[in-house]
């Protein structure tokens, strides 16, 4: 009941100055709306841009690097420090030894979401008399699609034909344009061993990154192995997708030790994306929070004015037995009411505007999967905005309310 009394007094004071209150609430609404819109849009863009690379990048990439041996024969017989100059790597295949066993044990690892093998083949695309550099990726079509959303980047044709049609290829869009190859055509390539092979184009691949699209094409795992003349155990890369991406560095380290291979985690391979994302998000937060603080000053001003206007009311409340604490509560609940209502409307309008932006068409050559502006509807930003609106309005109300609680009724009443 006592709480109800405080609320009813706050309400009366609020309604007495409803125009100022409304302006204050609109300030909060505006800032929360902008905060939500800005963050939804910014993180949506971030997610899309990162997804462009990160979705297509394995969390742990296992491969074999052809390097000079770290330990030379003499190191096995002598403990002394040996100086050996001009060490050269041995001529070796890029084949991962024991790949089938490694893959089996990776699939049994509970931290691993999936494993997709890959064979890299260096080729030349033959266009009449001209040869163009190219890289064919031999992939396990089903796994590649499940883990790295392969189908999203196949802009024309059916990616599944890669599996069903023998000697088929999904050609990089850039390469296809150069070769004037349309779907259904046969193209000719030369492998590094000098063999000429005809492949049937079943689709176009477009990653959005031109340099990749000019060079890279996809074939099935078996086609790639056949091109190289290797057995079906020949694998050059294993791409691992983890359940928790953040564990990639330690897991990569572990695999490197267990399987005696090179293993690179996504964080090391793509450090620049994380930095860019973090800074863009930081800027959005900074702008949003600045807006809220400005709205907070608005509330502070309005409450201060209200206290000067309602000096008599405060004095009489205190004379009839309301303590300083009660008066403080009255003004804090006024501030919080502005914060809560302004905030709620802000969240609502923020959602409305971001879903509006979500409808605006946004088409670009570089981003084949995007049709409209990307928006991130993460509930977390709504939560942060809500909490922040309440916290700022609380502080905006705290200082004026402390002043109100210290009003000396004697001074006011004698002054009349």
């Amino acid at each position: 009941m006592r709480f109800g009394l405080i609320i009813s007094i706050s309400k009366a004071l609020l309604l007495a100055r409803w125009k100022q209150t409304l302006v204050a609430a609109i300030g909060v609404t505006f800032s929360i709306t902008m905060f939500i819109t800005l963050l939804s849009f910014m993180t949506g863009l971030n997610k899309m841009l990162d997804g462009l690379i990160l979705n297509r990048t394995p969390h742990v990439h296992i491969y074999k690097e052809i390097l000079p041996s770290e330990k030379q024969p003499i190191d096995y017989t002598s403990d002394a420090h040996n100086f050996i100059s001009s060490v050269k790597p041995k001529n070796d295949l890029l084949d991962l030894r024991n790949s089938s066993v490694i893959m089996k044990s990776l699939r049994d690892d509970p931290r691993v979401l999936g494993v997709s093998p890959k064979v890299n083949v260096q080729v030349f695309y033959n266009i009449g008399a001209v040869d163009l550099n190219g890289v064919l990726n031999g992939i396990d079509v089903v796994e590649e699609n499940r883990l790295f959303s392969f189908s999203e980047y196949v802009v024309e044709g059916d990616y599944q034909e890669l599996k069903s049609v023998p000697n088929s290829i999904v050609l990089g869009k850039g390469a296809a344009e150069k070769m004037l190859a349309s779907i259904g055509d046969n193209i000719q390539i030369t492998t590094s061993r000098g063999e000429r092979v005809q492949l049937k184009v079943v689709g176009y691949f477009q990653s959005g990154i031109q340099d990749i699209d000019k060079v890279q094409s996809y074939v099935s795992l078996t086609t790639a192995q056949k091109l190289l003349g290797e057995s079906n155990s020949y694998i050059t890369d294993i791409q691992v997708k983890l359940r928790d991406m953040n564990k990639a560095p330690e897991i990569a380290k572990e695999y490197k030790q267990i399987y005696e291979v090179e293993a690179v985690d996504i964080q090391t391979a793509n450090a620049q994306f994380e930095t860019g994302t973090a800074i863009r998000t930081l800027i959005s937060y900074a702008v949003g929070i600045t807006l809220l603080i400005v709205a907070g000053f608005g509330i502070y001003n309005i409450l201060n004015m209200m206290i000067y206007e309602k000096m008599d009311t405060i004095a009489i409340l205190k004379a009839t037995g309301f303590s300083g604490k009660d008066v403080k509560r009255v003004f804090i609940s006024i501030a919080l009411t502005i914060g809560v209502f302004g905030g709620l409307f802000g969240l609502f309008f923020g959602f409305l505007i971001s879903s509006g932006i979500d409808q605006i068409p946004f088409k670009t050559e570089a981003l084949p999967t995007i049709k409209t502006y990307p928006i991130n509807y993460d509930l977390r930003y709504y939560l942060i905005a809500g909490i922040f609106s309440i916290v700022t309005t609380y502080f905006a109300g705290y200082f004026p309310s402390r002043k109100a609680s210290k009003v000396d009724p004697v001074v006011i009443i004698r002054g009349k």
Binding site: M1, R2, L5, I9, A12, L13, L15, A16, D312, T313, A315, I316, L317, K318, A319, T320, G321, F322, S323, G324, K325, D326, D408, P409, V410, I413, R414, K416
Partner: protein, 226 residues
Amino acid sequence: MEKTVLQAREISKYFHDPYDIQVLKKISFEVKKGEFTSIIGKSGCGKSTLLYILSTMDTDYQGDLLLDEQLMRGKKEGDLARVRNEKIGFVFQFHYLLNEFSVLKNVMLPGLKLNKLSAAEVEQHAYEKLKILGIQDEALKLPNQLSGGQKQRVAIARALINNPLIVMGDEPTGNLDKKNSEIVFEIFKELAEAFNQSLLIVTHDNEFAQRTHRIIEMEDGAIIRM
């Protein structure tokens, strides 16, 4: 022998700004239950200052103040607010009603703050007080729809809502015309005689004071007659 409701023991007060002046000089007196007392004196003799000390709103004084045989010295701000709420009814020269609330709600506020009775019971009490003062018909109006005399009566009803130990008034008729002053005086008299209510009224209206039970006359911060 009636109970003592208020006791002042050698209360002194100084103003320090702009230079030290002693405005109250060792004031001692008592008010008994049911007494209708008035304090008179010329402007600036310290009678209002004394009243604010007695009402616990001003805590910067020397000497002791006892309300209901309890020492007020050393109590915290919140406790003093509670004492004012429960034991003191206050009527000022200006009515100080809250224009945002109806007359009834204005009267109820201190009762709701006390939180001893339910809202419905407080409302019923408020109606009773308004009836005693003859303004029950105005209960649902807003204060700014009332005449000056009616407003002051609402303020008196508000002072009475918690059945206080003592009602204090600071020039309660100062802003009223002859007729309304008379009404307010009659109300005070009735409260004292019919309801055994203690009243301590500061006034400079000698005619008003002459008709009270007891007059305390002050001059230059000291009591010269009582």
